[in-house]
């Protein structure tokens, strides 16, 4: 017997075992699932002229949320649609939601003493025995002072750890209702969460304020990780196509070869994240924020999922897209938007894992935005300050 034949004989299946496999129930089900998936960014999809987007929209505008319609001169206004139109059951599309948000956010206050963002970050992980799911929360407020005589502040609080769902709570009680969890260093997590290095405590922590100095002085936050000064933020163009060129120029400067991702796709993804970054935290003008929504509305791959309650219990319209975390590795991201204010309510990533008893459990990672915008308020400083 020659060596080729020896190697051949080691094949786990032979071609004849596979004959006819292309039309089994499994093959059919997979095909049906795949063609229902959102297709990803075709390359070099150009931003349609805003007028064209809106014209297309006006034609299909019978939805129950406030939708922008085209007025003469290409400006936009909100026209509340009756909830009982002929197509009352039609869900708004992603584009309609984003354009409504764009119109609404344009009406937000354009200045104040502080640019304030207040978020609640929540993450889930299993307990060390993988018997139930825990959820931890932390709040964070950032106060960026526009006036040089005011101070920058960051206020944080650990909000504690608790069983994620009633089902998890039952399992937690059955396990003796522990209030502290110690994790083995080498615990397997499928990269879905990081193993806490110190024991995890159920109790909430103190609210602590930190005055920001150094690089924070004069900072207006960051865009895609790059620090921005107030002047730089003011210089961001507000016309949708100019904003898009500005962002594409920034993205174009990044060296993406070697990221393992297709460069075009990586660029499209960073552009999308830049828009989310502008909407969720940058003290840019309402017009810039509105344009960021309009660019998002023009991107392929964003899909409307209907109304949803965010992790803080607020109703909003959900948009989702797929994130390629590394080549071939995807997660679904949901953005919950309040179309009436144009504010991003939350960003949610959901993964699933199998618990020790075989139950499939959701592991959610989310950031909920309680405040994004200008204020003349002052931070409520706790007694304890760093």
């Amino acid at each position: 017997m020659n060596n080729d034949q020896i190697f051949k004989d080691r094949a786990r299946v032979l071609d004849e075992d596979l004959a006819g496999r292309a039309s089994t129930a499994g093959a059919d089900a997979l095909l049906a699932e795949i063609v229902s998936l959102e297709r990803v960014p075709a390359r070099r999809r150009l931003l349609p002229a805003p007028g064209r987007v809106l014209l297309g929209l006006a034609a299909t505008a019978a939805v129950a949320v406030a939708v922008p319609v085209m007025l003469s001169g290409g400006t936009v206004s909100v026209v509340p649609q009756p909830g009982t139109s002929a197509s009352a059951t039609a869900e708004p599309t992603a584009r309609q939601i984003l354009l409504a948000a764009a119109v609404a956010v344009e009406k937000a206050p354009a200045s104040g003493d502080y640019w304030r963002t207040a978020t609640v970050h929540q993450w889930m992980l299993t307990d060390p025995t993988r018997s139930y799911v825990l959820e931890g929360s932390r709040s964070l407020e950032t106060w960026l002072a526009k006036r040089p005589d005011l101070q920058y502040w960051r206020i944080r609080q650990d909000l504690g750890v608790k069983p994620a769902t009633p089902q998890d709570e039952a399992a937690w009680r059955a396990a003796g209702a522990p209030t502290s969890w110690r994790y083995p260093k080498d615990m397997k997590t499928e990269n879905l969460f990081s193993v806490p290095s110190r024991p995890l405590e159920a109790a909430a922590g103190e609210r602590t304020a930190e005055r920001l100095y150094g690089k924070w002085q004069g900072s207006a936050g960051d865009l895609a990780g790059e620090d921005m000064t107030w002047k730089e933020v003011r210089a961001i163009p507000s016309e949708p196509d100019k904003l898009r060129s500005y962002l594409e120029e920034r993205v174009g400067r990044l060296d993406l070869a070697g990221s393992g991702m297709d460069v075009e796709e990586a660029r499209a993804y960073i552009l999308l994240r830049n828009c989310v970054g502008i909407i969720s935290g940058l003290p840019a003008s309402p017009e810039v924020r509105a344009s960021a929504y309009r660019i998002l509305a023009s991107l392929p791959g964003i899909r409307a999922e209907g109304e949803m309650t965010d992790p803080l219990g607020r109703r909003g319209q959900t948009l989702s897209y797929q994130e390629e975390i590394e080549p071939g590795l995807f997660t679904q991201v949901q953005l919950v938007v309040d179309p009436s204010t144009g504010l991003l309510l939350a960003e949610v990533r959901t993964n699933t894992t199998k618990l020790a008893n075989g139950r499939e459990a959701e592991l959610r990672l989310s950031t909920s935005f309680r405040e994004i915008g200008w204020t003349d308020d002052r931070p409520e400083l706790p007694a304890h300050q760093n």
Binding site: D4, A11, V13, L14, L18, L31, E33, I34, V35, L37
Partner: protein
Amino acid sequence: MSEQDDRSRFEAVYRRTYEQILGYAMRRCSSPEDAADVVAETYVIAWRRMTELPDGEAGKLWLYGVARRVLANHRRSERRRLTRHTELTDEIERLYAAPAHPGEQDGVGEAMDLLADSDRELLALNLWEGLDPGEIATVLDCSRNAARIRLHRARKRFAKALEKTRPSVAGFLSRPLIEKESG
């Protein structure tokens, strides 16, 4: 191209290449779950990159190339699942459970383990998938000549490995496998 055209084209490619990609995944993965994932992910990528998918035979080789990268990146994890493909996993499980083809304690597995991944991959593409050096060159994105040379070297190293793990084949006839084992 309309959405409908894309679908029909994708379905045609899927039906035409499915058995081969399934075979490739099964022969390269040790568990039915992994094999099902590789098949599913390969076609999800193909669906997403339809514009790059060449027509005809070249399309098949392009899919092997994708499947190969999926396999290389493959780390089992729930979060990467874009599709549920549970029925597919069940079917593959039954195929895995089917009566095994020859392959006992004859040193062949050990010889294959001695090979570098790249050598094993070349031999598998050639002998399991039946691709010729030109086709392998397309899948691996190298020149035809390079594919031929690498395949030749892989063959030689496999022969060497077999000599090591199966001394009898090399002519050291019937030396008892267990020597002086104390009772």
